[in-house]
């Protein structure tokens, strides 16, 4: 089947299999920031914004995205600003999980989360095996302008 979706504000048309996963289709389209981590929706690495909301792209069929908007880290305003804060803390490490974390955190900023504990709860599904999270939290504190 043929689907038409908007990725990072660019209209993309592609032939897909009805059972194909959004993650695979986005990679086929060349959005390499979308990386496969766990196949089960648990690790948060393949997070993209679907009509503005973070979702794990491994857990949704590409066919659903027909007619919808997808944002990846390549097209995310503010991604670089947060990436800079992460790098200043050494919180990038292997970098594999960073795009997912960046998408979700930038979304939290957009909805005005300023409480670190609330942010952590919303980021529980962004796993990281390298950093031990603390350095990420130092960067998140700065990025969100955490007040408590």
């Amino acid at each position: 089947m043929r689907i038409k979706l908007k990725v990072n504000n660019k209209t993309e048309e592609i032939d897909i299999e009805p059972h194909e996963i959004l993650l695979d289709v986005l990679r086929k389209l060349g959005y390499y920031s979308v990386r496969r981590g766990c196949d089960t929706g648990m690790c948060g690495i393949c997070t993209v914004l679907f009509d503005g909301k973070p979702i794990p792209s491994c857990s949704v069929f590409a066919a659903r995205a027909d007619g919808h908007e997808i944002t990846t880290v390549e097209g995310l305003e503010d991604a670089k600003a947060f990436a800079k804060l992460l790098s200043e803390e050494g919180a990038d490490q292997c970098g594999y999980c960073s795009p997912g974390l960046i998408l979700n955190t930038v979304y939290l900023k957009k909805i005005g989360v300023k409480d670190l504990n609330k942010a952590k709860i919303k980021l529980i599904g962004n796993l990281c095996r390298c950093t031990g999270y603390e350095s990420q939290h130092r960067a998140i504190t700065k990025f969100l302008g955490v007040t408590k």
């Binding site: 059972h19 089960t40 979702i55 794990p56 069929f61 599904g125």
Partner: protein, 255 residues
């Protein structure tokens, strides 16, 4: 791997039901768990365009469309104000924020997932399940039916003065519950739901005066609830923890 040949987004339930009954088709709900299964069928039905993403409140009840995601559910002021955020607090601890943006209320209830925290919570409220073909059924009764070829349209929760409590235990905070329990108390009745046993949640209803001695009441109730082993814990552990949590929850609502 999951395999199907056709992906449809019907605009309404009638259309969806026709496909469901005329083909080897499945409603995919939020798709998160279905996607993990190893099955093949002909047609996937996605209800995303079927206008089931409503949450409405009337004087006596709250209606929640089947395609409302857990995030929308928890964030909705009608739900988050209900019983001091009882349902909001439950949903906010289910898996992750990203997954809750996909997982739907219907997709949680219709497959009757044993691990569900939400089903346990809803059981102690007066919750009804509205099916397109089979009509309105109380949630506890629905859990005991074998209905498969139908579509969950919405659920309704009756607004009643209740004291409620939800308790669960996880090892990692980012995990499914090892056991979950919910308790509600009306003027003269107490409802207790126990889920993640690990099987589907069960509901027990008792008169308030049964709980004069909470310790004794819990002992006798425990005999009626079946637990079993799985990866996360043994039957015996579940039993012990259920006892502790049940006492805590009952003390909260009764005292």
């Amino acid at each position: 791997m999951i395999y199907f040949k056709e992906y449809l987004k019907p605009k309404n339930l009638q259309e969806a039901y026709e496909v469901l009954t005329s083909k080897n088709a499945k409603i995919i709900g939020g798709a998160t768990f279905l996607k993990l299964s190893n099955q093949s069928f002909e047609t996937a039905i996605d209800l995303i365009d079927a206008k089931l993403d409503f949450i409405r409140e009337s004087e006596n009840e709250i209606e929640i469309g089947a395609m409302v995601t857990l995030s929308e559910f928890g964030d909705n002021p009608i739900i988050s104000n209900l019983y001091n955020g009882f349902l909001k607090n439950i949903t906010e601890n289910i898996l992750s924020f990203q997954m809750r943006n996909l997982i739907t209320v219907g997709g949680t209830i219709f497959p009757k997932f044993g691990f569900s925290d939400l089903i346990t919570g809803l059981l102690v409220l007066e919750t009804e399940v509205h099916l397109y073909k089979n009509g309105k059924i109380r949630l506890e009764d629905f859990l005991n039916t074998k209905i498969q070829k139908d579509i969950l349209e919405k659920i309704t929760i009756k607004k009643k003065p209740l004291a409620v409590s939800f308790k669960n235990i996880k090892n990692s905070e980012y995990d499914f519950s090892i056991i979950n329990i919910a308790v509600s108390k009306s003027e003269n009745e107490v409802k207790i739901a126990v889920g993640a046993r690990p099987a589907m949640a069960v509901l027990i209803t008792k008169d308030l005066n049964f709980f004069e001695d909470i310790d004794k009441a819990v002992e006798s109730l425990l005999n009626k609830i079946k637990f079993s082993d799985d990866l996360r814990a043994s039957k015996i552990y579940r039993q012990k923890v259920c006892k502790a949590l049940l006492k805590r929850a009952l003390r909260e609502v009764i005292q």
